[in-house]
């Protein structure tokens, strides 16, 4: 059951090979058996899921996802369910409302089994920053699963659930997808509602699905995408059916390759990217060399824009209306200092301080404003490149999953693991990460980046690739 894709499960349910109840029970059993190795879950909604599954006796064939189990990243608000954001600050927070995407996926008939582990407030690249402990990589339990959506990636990779959600501010869907050998897509900024996503950096945050295959992503994105009047930054344009374009042949597709960017890439990874490109060529695509002259500015720009916004977004966590409150403050100032001082972890505090600095009087122009200008230039670079190509290919990460503890005391080197992903958030573009091979038994991912709102194009390319390769079908030994 757990190796099947969404389409197959759906067919089995229609053919009554097993019931929704049995399906849910199967994944509950797997989570109970294996999650102790991974620590990928924060909250397990076992009973609620069983109760819900019992109610489904007839499968609605018109709803693609009816009965399919799902786990949400714990940054996404779920009504009456703890939504901790991986933080001590919200360890006691039960959300009074559902995020729009939670409602949407529920309306599609999906059954939520729980909430997945993550870097605190989605800040990190390894899930080591979680208040609930690190999530291990299913391919090598000594390695990180990536971050910040590490729990969601590990759960899918270990086949403990067919679908998860993630959020991606600088690579938080794609990087863990790459590290865990699964597929994940960050949609165009504005494509999926942010209402109910606990904001890290509002101008960059975007939620997206994570699953075993690109085809599964198309099913899930069909449910998640669309304008939301509750989110002023979501865009009111029609959403295509992402399944419709999947089967198009790649003949005539032009793919851009920023060759200069790949020159420093580790040779073993470079080799995998070349093999990926060769496969796409065989499918009929042509490769065009492109230049993204300011790509090297992405990481510094990101680490000004994102912390600036985060310093303001996280101001609401003051221990007054909800969340952690220090038990014995002497006065209001001390209540703020102690609640926030003890409630937040180191990385969150680091970014709040960075952002407070870059927005402060006298530094605003030199940092925040400058970063905004460079952000525009980075966006324009992509726009220029897209005049000649349908999609751009990049690696997802400069390395495979690193060891737990290896980078935790070196934030700068941790930040550099986002080098291929953050620019895409700055430009607001959609990007897919999918597995393209293994190095030393650890998966490696590649990105397909599309034009604004061209999720259908990149899903099509990814799916065509997965039709002729089987990297996405590999299962970590221990979890088979």
């Amino acid at each position: 059951m757990h190796n099947k894709n969404i389409k197959e499960i759906k067919q089995d349910l229609i053919n009554k090979k097993y019931s929704v109840k049995e399906l849910i029970q199967h994944f509950i059993d797997r989570i109970e058996k294996y999650d102790s190795k991974l620590n990928a879950m924060i909250t397990f909604c076992k009973q609620e899921a069983i109760d819900q599954s019992k109610l489904i006796t007839n499968i609605d064939t018109s709803t693609e996802l009816h009965g399919i189990p799902l786990i949400h990243k714990d940054v996404i608000c779920t009504k009456n369910v703890k939504t901790s954001c991986g933080s001590k600050m919200l360890d006691n927070f039960i959300s009074p409302y559902n995020a729009t995407i939670v409602d949407k996926m529920q309306n599609s008939g999906m059954i939520m089994l729980g909430k997945s582990n993550m870097d605190e407030f989605a800040m990190g690249s390894s899930t080591e920053n979680s208040f609930y402990g690190v999530t291990a990589n299913p391919w090598n339990l000594e390695c990180v699963s990536g971050g910040s959506s590490g729990g969601s990636a590990a759960l899918v990779a270990a086949r403990l659930i067919p679908a998860t959600t993630g959020t991606d501010t600088g690579g938080s869907i794609r990087q863990p997808a790459g590290f865990c050998g699964i597929s994940g897509i960050k949609p165009t900024y504005g494509r999926v509602s942010r209402f109910g996503l606990i904001a890290y950096a509002s101008s960059l945050d975007q939620a997206g699905p994570m699953a075993k295959s690109v085809e599964d992503l198309a099913y899930l994105l069909n449910s998640m995408a669309g304008y939301d009047p509750k989110d002023s930054t979501s865009i009111n344009i029609s959403v295509p059916n992402y399944l419709e374009n999947l089967d198009k042949k790649l003949k005539g597709k032009k793919l851009g390759l920023p060759v200069k960017l790949l020159s420093d890439l580790d040779s073993s990874i470079n080799q995998k990217i070349q093999q990926f490109i060769d496969e796409l060529k065989k499918l009929g695509a042509t490769i065009v060399e492109i230049d993204l002259p300011n790509a090297h500015l992405s990481v510094p720009t990101y680490y000004i824009v994102a912390p600036s916004e985060c310093s303001s977004n996280l101001a609401r966590f003051d221990g007054i209306r909800y969340g952690y409150r220090h038990p014995d403050p002497k006065n209001i100032t001390e209540q703020y200092i102690k609640s926030r001082g003890y409630g937040f972890g180191d990385e969150v505090k680091r970014r709040i301080m960075l952002g407070t600095y870059t927005l402060s009087a006298g530094y605003y122009d030199a940092y925040y404003l400058k970063a905004q200008k460079i952000r525009r230039i980075i966006r324009e670079d992509y726009q220029k490149a897209f005049e000649n190509v349908d999609a751009v290919i990049l690696p997802t990460t400069p390395t495979t999953a690193f060891k737990i503890g290896e980078k935790i005391d070196d934030p700068l080197s941790m930040y550099l693991s986002d080098i291929y992903t953050v620019g895409i958030n700055l430009a607001g573009l959609p990007a897919l990460s999918l597995p393209v091979g293994f190095i030393n038994e650890l998966p490696i991912g590649a990105q397909i980046i599309g034009k604004h709102f061209a999720e259908d194009t990149i899903l099509n390319i990814g799916h065509q690739y997965q039709l002729v390769t089987d990297w996405h079908k590999k299962i970590p030994e221990e979890f088979n």
Partner: protein
């Protein structure tokens, strides 16, 4: 030394919308604490603001009313600071580019017209309220007000006296209430005034160090506070001291200002564009719509009153000082056949003096427009005379009863019957036979004495014009 005072004003007007600036919660005043706060107003994790379009139209109309530049693209910014009644830890406001740019207001002081510059007007959300005296060792927070829309109107430092400041404020108050974008209630905080006050030697062009007087809740107190502050600063400078730039609170009981916080403690608000909100774009269509829907402004109403109701400029200007009063006048006029001048007189001499005497405003007056119209109609149809009507008015004011009921209860119906009137007149003339002789000998001033006696005898109910006619007939023909 001769000193000149320099005053600039910041006015927070609470916009009269049904729902808040960025959430659908109601804005009504006086509800149970925290019953008008949604997850958005509470700053729950993950919630997002959505702009109330109505607010944009109100701000545009204000801008048009003060001949201001309307920015076709303005930006919402976050003003970051920690305060327990500020749920998000930032206030959404406008910083670099406000919706309303520079404009002006003309004020009239002792016959002279002066232009007061308006620097800008921007939209922002209000904070909640902290209540410190409800529980021991504990503060309470009410977030009903959190997210209520405000339009902050900032003037240039163009005023030179507390009097000018008050004239400007009253004019501004008239505009926002005429536009119906603010209920103008100073007491409830719908029209909050902060005054920036400094002084300099007459002839100097550079500004002196200013102090900011905060949240004063009546025009009278604003005037007193500014006056006091000017004198305080003069005293300091004349004794070679230095004015400190600070925020000061006015104490109306002691009539003095006290330091609240100095500039050294001022926050760095770390303003930056709110990434949750798109730039606010205003297109021509919306501008035209706002222009088309502009309510009548004070000046236009004044002109119309003169033309349409044939009122004197004085009467028209008194009646248009407040929109509610002008509406009252028009309502009464529409409900009675009396001349507009009659209606105007009733309102200006009676209604306004009762309002002042009891310090109530038009909307809370015990005599509603329909009631006054009915009273005036009773004079028109000769049920009562004008003098009795004034008594009836007083009784209506005190009891809230209709004119009809009072006239009946007190038996005040006018005496219009010639036969009965003649009876009274004849009795009076007989009684005062000597005076009748004096009258006939040329003391014609005694005529009003006879009228008065008749009125007295009829307990004021005699129809005065009939009495005049009948009396004249008798005296001249006998």
């Amino acid at each position: 030394m001769q000193w000149e005072s320099v005053i600039g004003l910041e006015v927070h007007t609470q916009l009269k919308t049904k729902s808040k600036l960025f959430s659908g919660s109601p804005t009504e005043y006086g509800a149970m604490p925290n019953t008008q706060a949604s997850i958005i107003d509470l700053g729950m994790p993950g919630v997002l603001p959505v702009l109330n379009q109505k607010v944009v139209e109100m701000a545009i109309q204000f801008g048009l009313a003060v001949s201001a530049k309307i920015n076709n693209r303005s930006i919402f910014a976050r003003k970051n600071y920690f305060y327990p009644d500020l749920p998000k830890g930032y206030q959404i406001s406008q910083h670099d580019i406000p919706i309303v740019g520079t404009g002006y207001l003309e004020i009239e002081n002792n016959g002279a017209i002066k232009k007061i510059g308006i620097t800008r007007a921007h939209l922002e959300e209000d904070a909640g309220k902290s209540i410190h005296d409800l529980y021991d060792n504990c503060s309470a927070i009410d977030l009903n007000r959190a997210g209520t829309p405000l339009l902050e109107i900032v003037s240039e430092p163009d005023m030179r006296s507390s009097q000018e400041a008050i004239i400007y404020l009253k004019k501004l108050h008239r505009i926002v209430t005429y536009l119906d974008i603010c209920d103008g209630n100073l007491q409830e905080g719908s029209f909050r005034v902060d005054a920036n006050v400094s002084i300099r030697p007459v002839g100097d062009t550079e500004l002196g160090t200013r102090t900011e007087l905060k949240n004063i809740n009546s025009f009278k107190f604003i005037e007193q506070a500014i006056k006091y502050e000017i004198q305080r600063q003069i005293k300091i400078l004349e004794s070679n001291g230095k004015v400190i730039q600070e925020t000061r609170l006015y104490d109306p009981v002691k009539n003095e200002t006290k330091a609240m916080r100095s500039k050294e403690e001022a926050h760095d608000y770390r303003y930056f564009p709110d990434p949750d909100l798109l730039p606010l774009e205003i297109d021509k269509k919306l501008l035209q719509k706002c222009q088309k829907n502009m309510p009548e402004l004070p000046h236009d109403k004044l002109e119309r009153f003169i033309k349409e109701y044939k009122l004197s400029k004085y009467d028209a200007s008194v009646l248009t000082t407040e929109k509610t009063l002008a509406d009252y006048f028009e309502n009464v006029s529409n409900l009675t056949s009396a001349k507009s001048k009659t209606v105007a007189n009733w309102i200006i001499t009676e209604f306004l003096s009762y309002l002042n005497k009891d310090s109530v405003d038009v909307t809370n007056a015990p005599i509603k427009a329909e009631m006054l119209a009915k009273l005036i109609n009773k004079i028109e149809d000769k049920t009562i005379n004008g003098k009795i009507a004034k008594t009836v008015f007083e009784k209506m004011w005190n009891s809230g009863k209709e004119a009809d009921a009072i006239i009946k209860e007190e038996n005040l119906i006018q005496l219009n019957d010639d036969k009965k009137l003649l009876e009274i007149i004849n009795n009076i003339l007989v009684e005062h036979n000597d005076k009748v002789q004096d009258y006939k000998n040329g003391k014609i001033k005694l005529f009003s004495f006879f009228v008065g006696q008749v009125m007295k005898e009829s307990k004021g109910k005699a129809n005065p014009s009939q009495v005049n006619k009948l009396l004249q007939g008798i005296l001249e023909n006998s």
